[in-house]
Amino acid sequence: MVPFAYCYDWGVFEEKGRQVAMAEFAANGVKHIVLTSTLIEMISGNPKLYLKLQTEARDAGLTFVDSHMPFNYETDIALPVAEYRPQMLARMKFNLELIHDYGVDTCCFHICSHYYKEIPMARHMDAARSSLEELLPVAEELGIVICLENIFQPCNTVDDVLTLIGEFPSPYLGACFDIGHAHLMEQGMHVPNCIVPTHWEGVCPVPWEKNVLDRMLPHIVDCHLHDNSADLDTHTIPGMGTIDWAPAMAKLRTAPRLKNMQSEVIPVRRNGIPIRRVVESFDRLLK
């Protein structure tokens, strides 16, 4: 059984609240939490947290497993604007060092969170290639696997993820399978008010997907587990949406490169779900 880690919306807490939430996870039997994009941004913006967060997690009996690179706003690998790229690359190298120092060996990357509609898709993908050429050697040196995530937005489809993985064969490049995003791209065409088409307006028709898990399976290193009803990206607990969890979990466990699993339920900001309910929902799934 691979380690199971929990994501949490740490950004809503002050220091004391953060410590209480860590203790709450531990009291519910959790061993691992995710070094989230928010935590990485907090450490980046506040050097004192570099050691403090490590101490807080250790005091709560938790370790960090898996991580998520900050995304959006001139921080994605597919950033095609030449003058913004050096800071993006320097930021990512700095963040990979932090991730390594926190004892984490996988990091989920969005290929592209902010798509520049005035710039062709091919240039975004070329920018992503150029970024991987520079970042992969750093990841290899640090022993961190960069995991590209499937998302319901341009440049983040399963095809895009698999194309880049195919072009850079390395044990330090793999896939992050996001089950909620796969559900939106597989079932969203049948659901009124699905959020997906709005992300493709002015780009191209939505390239709805099939068999996402099967296609990504050989390359999956980490995964994001959360539910939705194929309309919005709600990041809720399993059972609150329309994902068929049993076959998905059975198949996911056979992924040959899988290093860890992650609850990417967003309990506070999006769903108002107590930690105990989040943990219980995954305990049931993992039995």
């Binding site: 913006g45 003058e83 320097a90 930021r91 120092d101």
Partner: protein, 294 residues
């Protein structure tokens, strides 16, 4: 315009860390309305941009909208981010952070960056080990600064590893147009005149490291050939007040006259912490304009 004399850009430190977006824009407008042209890309702003990626463009746009520009900068310090950090397992993140900071400075159009040699003395390591660590950091960081065209300015402080002697030693060991000094007049005042007060902050800082205070003489004269940027603020040689000129014991007329002759000087900076002393922007800018003879 860079050079000596009255045309040297003058910049103002403003603590934006605790301001929300609207107040940040207001403060920028306030400085502009009072005739300021430049603000400091401060350690607080670096932290904001590092921690909130969307501010990378937002802050550039806000400054531009207010008609202001950044001229000099101050790297984040303390908390495992100083060049002299000797603990091997913390050094890689420090180096990556410093490189990221220099890249941001370059992107923001800034060509000098003040760096503290050290803010924390780590138990279990000698001062010499800290200083050797600072050397190793400069070995790795200076080529980056040279590539980006940013001058690293080492600041004199009233703490071990940051004395004028140590700043000048490092500058002497790494002769490069991209390494120079940041002359802090308030810190110099403490190290030159603090010996008459037992409560002087220098006694505390050196006492904690277990070494006597190496009181200094004529810090400005010794640093003058290497000064690229400077921090201007006042105190009574006891605590590091960062107060308005005239509210302490610094001899401002003499200081300005000599500073202007510094051959490498690129900018002058008010490092008055106005918020801590409830100093209006109008008073702050007006005080420095009088001193500069503007």
């Amino acid at each position: 315009m860079k050079g000596t004399g009255a045309d040297i850009p003058f910049t103002y430190f403003c603590s934006f860390s605790n301001l929300d977006e609207r107040m940040r824009r207001m403060m920028m407008e306030e400085f502009a309305a009072n005739g300021a042209k430049h603000l400091v890309l401060s350690d607080g702003l670096f932290k904001l941009i590092s921690g909130t990626p969307k501010l990378y463009l937002t802050i550039q746009n806000e400054m531009s909208a207010a008609g202001l520009s950044f001229v000099d900068s101050h790297a984040p310090f303390g908390g495992e981010c100083d060049p002299a950090i000797p603990v091997p397992e913390y050094r890689r993140q420090m180096l990556a952070r410093l490189k990221f900071t220099l890249q941001l400075a370059c992107d923001f159009g800034v060509d000098s960056c003040c760096v503290h040699v050290d803010s924390t003395v780590y138990p279990g390591y000698t001062l010499r080990q800290h200083f050797d660590a600072a050397r190793r950091t400069l070995d790795e960081i200076l080529p980056v600064a040279e590539k980006l065209g940013v001058v690293i300015c080492l600041e004199n402080i009233f703490k071990p590893l940051n004395t004028v002697g140590e700043v000048l030693a490092l500058i002497g060991e790494f002769p490069s147009p991209c390494l120079g000094a940041c002359f802090d007049v308030g810190h110099a005042n403490i190290m030159e005149h603090g010996m008459s007060s037992p409560d002087c902050v220098a006694c505390d800082r050196f006492g904690k490291a277990g070494v006597p205070v190496p009181w200094e003489h004529d810090a400005l004269g010794r640093m003058l050939p290497h000064i690229v940027s400077c921090h201007l603020h006042d105190n009574h040689a006891v605590t590091d007040d960062h107060d308005l000129p005239g509210r302490g014991t610094v001899d401002w007329a003499a200081t300005f006259a000599r500073l202007r002759t510094a051959p490498r000087l690129r900018s002058m900076q008010s490092e008055v912490i106005a918020a801590a002393h409830a100093i209006p922007v109008k008073t702050l800018v007006g005080t420095f304009e009088k001193l500069r003879g503007a």
